[in-house]
Symmetry: C2
Subunit: 537 residues, 2 copies
Amino acid sequence: MRYTATLLAAAGLICSGSAAPPTRPGPGAGGPGSKNGMRNFIYIVPDGYGQHSQTMARDYAMLLPPNTTASNPGPAGFHLAADLLVVGTVRTWASDNLITDSAASGTAFACGYKSYNDAVGITPDGLPVGSILETAHLAGFKTGLVVTSTINHATPAVYASHAENRDSYEAIAAQEIGYSHPFGSTVDILMGGGRCYFKPQNDSTSCRSDDVDLFSFAASKGFTVMQDRAAFDELNLGENAPLPYIGLFNDDQMMYEIDRSREPEKEPSLLEMVETALVSLDKAVSGRTPPQSGKPGKPAGPTDKGYFIMIEASRIDHAGHANDAAAHLYETLMYNEVMDFVRNWIDEHPDTMMMSAADHECGGLTTNGFDPEPLQAAQHSLEYLADLWSEYNGTNIRGFFVDTILAGAGLSGVLSDEEIDALLAAGEDEILSTLPDLTAELAGVNWSTGGHTAGDINLHAYAAGDRWRELKADLAGNHDNTELPRYIEKVLGLDMDATTRKLREAAPFVAPADAAKKTKRNVKTRDGHEHGHAHMH
Amino acid sequence: MRYTATLLAAAGLICSGSAAPPTRPGPGAGGPGSKNGMRNFIYIVPDGYGQHSQTMARDYAMLLPPNTTASNPGPAGFHLAADLLVVGTVRTWASDNLITDSAASGTAFACGYKSYNDAVGITPDGLPVGSILETAHLAGFKTGLVVTSTINHATPAVYASHAENRDSYEAIAAQEIGYSHPFGSTVDILMGGGRCYFKPQNDSTSCRSDDVDLFSFAASKGFTVMQDRAAFDELNLGENAPLPYIGLFNDDQMMYEIDRSREPEKEPSLLEMVETALVSLDKAVSGRTPPQSGKPGKPAGPTDKGYFIMIEASRIDHAGHANDAAAHLYETLMYNEVMDFVRNWIDEHPDTMMMSAADHECGGLTTNGFDPEPLQAAQHSLEYLADLWSEYNGTNIRGFFVDTILAGAGLSGVLSDEEIDALLAAGEDEILSTLPDLTAELAGVNWSTGGHTAGDINLHAYAAGDRWRELKADLAGNHDNTELPRYIEKVLGLDMDATTRKLREAAPFVAPADAAKKTKRNVKTRDGHEHGHAHMH
């Protein structure tokens, strides 16, 4: 017997979905700390990142040059950026399942309410609940969503849209840009993938089922619209990036970092997007936005409010679903780079606070006899290689497999000629399920599932100076994920329940779940199942 | 290629083994907090306890009655005792392997030095390093070791002995009781299993290879000696327990809690031993020890020093090695009971501080589709059932297997008649490897290994009142396991390096590794391999 929604409900273990404030104290209720003076909040979601993701990334970095030089601080002190910022752990379960998906967990940490898997910013009774981002926007804060998934994927979706089902991608995109959100536009910066959802169906690269042109709508509302890396580069890492703007750099998910880092001209990295977003948010709230002649609708000057931004290292999760150890590693290292950048940013902007927690673990990763070399040898994600394999039209199939696919996966010399022949004879499905297993075996990496697990995840936080000790004292312990936005709410002096009341006055506007069925492109993105490319096992 | 001692050494990633104090700051170096007034320190080791161990135990407790009643605080707030006390995470690797064993990790968190797997209180160069317990003893503190493994198992061993190899059980026992330790007796309370190592070889239940009678030696030095539950009960949970005393309640490891809880007359629980030890330590350092007429050598009165005690929930690890989910669960729940008791104890004794961290994860546990019912149905550990199976002399083998073994494992009705026949025909090894797999499959529990993994583990801590916030601020983050005793050292005002110098003046006394070979009883206890009963797969 598995515990389902019915069972949990019978056991009294589902939240009511009422908009009344929770009666349980959130983290830090016993000691509020010195939150005065905090204007800005940065929330970072490493999607699908478990405790072993960090251990594997640290062990990898520790064992490879140049970390073995004499100038290294030494093994006992070796750490990655996120290590320094661990303050506690988080319980993640959804109202209908011990294993949450990104939508239910996101609804918890964006809005403060438990809900069912698939729910986007609504409670189990189908009513919308306001997010911390929407609340910050209503209070006059600038806001941003910067991700490497599609921008209308579950985690960014819960901050600026409300839907019965996360698969309502078209409706979610329309809400995020303000086309169909009752508050209009609530997000000043949107960056990530999912470009196809913003183009009308007559565009050959569209994945909409209607004629709505969300990029044109955005431009009409004053957004700078970017659809490629060249446009992004014109922002000069935020030095020339007045709000609002939207930059979507891939029709689907953005590239895995392991692939992108070898073709950086194709897309910006998460770190580059984060730097750009923070610099432009800082300028916007500091009144340093340069005048933009001839561009109507840009915010004109300073505000007494700060900003809220959600940054997602989205594809740690996708690589976990694919059991792709090398891709998982690169995404986790990029998350640590972002954590390092944000920590330094906060030291220079001490009116800013950071919190970071995954939505759930993914893949059931453990390491046992870890060897970094097979992961170092890998040049590409399995998704990238599967695309190459699907697209190959040549006649030297065996040579292409050995020289491009196996070599790209870091598996040169691993298989005998007979094994290669047998694998080629077995066909694509067998190939695509064998490659990750080979890498895992060689690297001492174990995956227990292609879905999520129920495990706790780590909570990280940072503030500058003396506030750092206060923040740690506030946030130590094990928290339910619904408690996390309540802390941000207190820090920024916001009222999420007021947002919920305003949303419900404007309701019903929740997107029908079956809208997803009309989506003409089959992008599988439901957590617990497969993400990205359907042929990736 | 796996990373071995040689590779790590070549990479400059092994500590020097020098007795010089580490140059890196330990936790809290940037903010010492208000440690004044702390007299006592309780260190708790949940051996082999990973983050998923806690998630599984919490989900189990949450989903079973009586936690589903109206008086339950509700799902978002549901937690176990250890949850409240999480403050950070710990890196665990040994000097010669990313995956540590209990000896190397114990040497790190007892003595503050990285060493190789198997090392007990010595550095890779073979020289002893002083433990926090030995240091506390030299400074006039009372000390205790309370475990559920054999008392000379690696984790307790590192606090009061020094050996090249953890398998030197006889030499370790002799050091722990003060027979062959250069400082004499350093431990005032020893409780756990391992009785056979304290009896001379002419005793039929001895596992020594010499005539040394450590119980008689202990008695001659003033120890009260207990060898069964009846003697323990006379202590009346510490109300009648002047120091020093030794209580060993099993020749081998103590019973798994899942078994012991059904036969509590056989052995005390870890919680009972902890309560007894803390009450008697408190009396000893508070001067409230009642006079003991006719018993020479008891400490006579109060001291201005407090106490240090290490408590180990030892067999979480053993159940992980055996991939025995039900036994692992019961051990983890007992650990949480001890954490709850200690937290309340500290509230009543605010001059006491607690820290708790595992030595490593064990089993690569993840949960995916967890169902508590198969674990609730289990009545015994697989070790217990394997003993019953081995000892069965009757003729109704099939009936015994179905009614006792399968029923005891909570697997009644799971196998068809044909499957039962096939299993019986396949023999004992197949039976013993099939039962944990069946339970894991039914309960949605995944084990990736029968050994340890490299994953980080959680750090917990507690202090009463305002000191709790200071402690959290000190200890948040990710720490190397070598940093942990340095914090205790500062709190109690001790000098571990002085102890190391004294030990080395008294050296050489490290037990020869080949002493283990003389051990006449084959108790496999090396981490990474099998613990307890050799026939438990």
